[in-house]
């Protein structure tokens, strides 16, 4: 791993793509403040792969819904390229946990929908070829004419990723995309996403509750506790990362230990955490 590559993965000198400034959020229709956020701040640099790690109910999906523009913060602001996020837009593509494909469209049809929404001026033939190439990039070329109901969970999420890529946005938001997929397939999908996001130079925010998933994918891991950010951990492992090669290395073990203690709220190991907020 060269110095240049190291600098790139860390992205310290790159400009800030997304700024989350003192953001708070409440669910107004519920008496309990379940999943709410209080004064959360975070800067995300261009090309960074951020994993937001937390137990269910800590507000990580809420944070993503604010970034996607589907919800508006109660106070504070979210900026992208210095401009406030006002609502959903094609500059931020979203991959949901499941059930977000359009069931009346084929695999290719779903991807074409993304291409059409991206607003690029393309002929029918160019669009079709582009859709084929995205379908191929997620390894579904042979299933491109199938409908979502004819696909397995893993294949559906591949389509969702392809559709999100087809929007050609600079930012990709993924909300526990592989949470419902069985572990063996999940690993394949993680490697696919890691590869594609690097190829297409995306700024990625990836929500997960899986520590290994976070270590495998992220440049920085943001651990959340209910309502706020608990700690941020830099991942100094070289890309591309392979699961089998990672486990056992010193950096991996150290990070894993840190994350487990942060995740399970153990005070004695807190000192090890990279940055504590």
């Amino acid at each position: 791993m060269s110095e240049a590559k190291e600098a790139k993965t860390q992205g310290e000198n790159r400009k800030v793509k997304i700024q989350i400034k003192d953001v708070s959020f409440d669910y107004v229709d519920q008496k309990t403040r379940f999943g709410a956020l209080k004064d959360v701040s975070l800067d995300i640099r261009e090309g960074e792969f951020i994993c937001i790690l937390g137990a269910s109910g800590c507000g990580k999906s809420t944070l993503l819904s604010l970034l996607s523009g589907l919800n508006k913060p109660k106070s504070g602001e979210l900026l992208m390229d210095g401009k406030p996020i006002k609502g959903p837009g094609i500059d931020r593509a979203v991959v949901f946990q499941q059930y977000s494909l359009f069931p009346w469209l084929t695999v290719k049809g779903n991807v074409l929908f993304g291409i059409k929404q991206s607003g690029r001026k393309l002929g029918r033939k160019e669009r079709s070829e582009l859709a084929d190439s995205y379908v191929e990039s997620v390894g579904l070329a042979s299933a491109k004419d199938r409908y979502p109901s004819q696909l397995s969970g893993g294949m559906k999420q591949r389509v969702a990723v392809a559709r999100a890529l087809a929007l050609e946005s600079e930012v990709l938001l993924l909300d526990e995309p592989f949470g419902a997929i069985d572990p063996k397939l999940r690993l394949e999908l993680q490697e696919l996403v890691s590869k594609l996001c690097a190829n297409y130079h995306k700024t990625v925010i990836f929500i997960t509750h899986d520590i290994d998933e976070a270590i495998l994918l992220a440049d920085r891991i943001v651990v959340m506790e209910p309502g706020s950010i608990r700690s941020i951990h830099k991942v100094r492992l070289p890309h591309p990362r392979v699961r089998e090669e990672l486990s056992g290395t010193e950096e991996y073990e150290r990070l894993h230990r840190q994350l487990i203690s942060a995740f399970y709220d153990q005070v004695e190991d807190k000192i090890d955490a990279g940055v504590t907020l």
């Binding site: 996607s68 523009g69 589907l70 959903p88 837009g89 094609i90 931020r92 593509a93 979203v94 949901f96 499941q98 059930y99 977000s100 494909l101 359009f102 069931p103 009346w104 469209l105 929908f113 993304g114 929404q117 607003g119 409908y147 979502p148 109901s149 559709r163 929007l167």
Partner: protein, 312 residues
Amino acid sequence: MKSFFRLERGMYLELFLATALMIVDVILTLTFPYFTTHKAYYDSGAYIVVLLVSYLIYVSYLFWAKKKSTNDVAVVLYGFFLLWEVAYKLGWIHNDLLLPSPEGLFHVFVEKAPEISKDVWGSIQLLFWGFLLAATLGTLLGLLAGWIPRVREVLLPISNVITLIPPLMFSAYLIMILSTFRQAAIAVIFFAVFWPTFQGTVIRVGQIDRQIIEAARTMGVGTIGMLWKVIFPYCLPGIIGSISKSLRGAFMCLSGAEMLGINLGIGYFTEKYKSFADYRCVLAGIVTVGVITTVIDLAVNKAQRAIIKWEK
């Protein structure tokens, strides 16, 4: 792969039974025309054609679908016809004015062929235009109301009241105030179809998976795109699925309206011969309505399967 000409063993017995019932009926009809005490005698040609054609459809469907229930239906059907025929021939039915023989009933379709075909065509045309208008408008307004809460809150309470009133009650009034029978008939169908279609569409829009809508919103889909490119295709199977039900309702109302005073259509045909006390023709009219609704039903189901290739 199963051969087309093979059936399960038990099915042959019932096929034989149904065939025997049908053949005995045909023989009875042909050979005992004069063994009755009734004066009226009708040519049995039409009845025999009905028996043979239905038999042909039954056997080909049996071999195609290979379902036991097909046999059961055939046995019941031919058993019923045979019983009717026997009852008639043995003189159990005394008044053939009120209950004609099966050959008498089906002979109406030969005697009154031009009249019936004209009336059926008339009914279908009315049905087509009324239905097209009501279903299109009902769906469009339903999509709008389903998506925009403010529109829904105005229209849904109104439709809740109106759909509770039997559409036939409007008919008498509509027939009176509208200048032509054609307009009146279309208006009746419109009332019978519009509100249920509207309500069904609103409900279907409400049941859309939130993830689908959110996914569309994050892809920058606006209001019109949402209605046309997301909500409409998502609801289309449900909309088509409800067509056969609302068509049946429409046909029921149309027949009713025709009997109430519209001077064309198959309902009018039935009503007219009722006043002439020609119950043979009345029964023929009823049979015709049954046949038309069945054909419409089959056609719609077929179309649905052809159009909708996906499932949720």
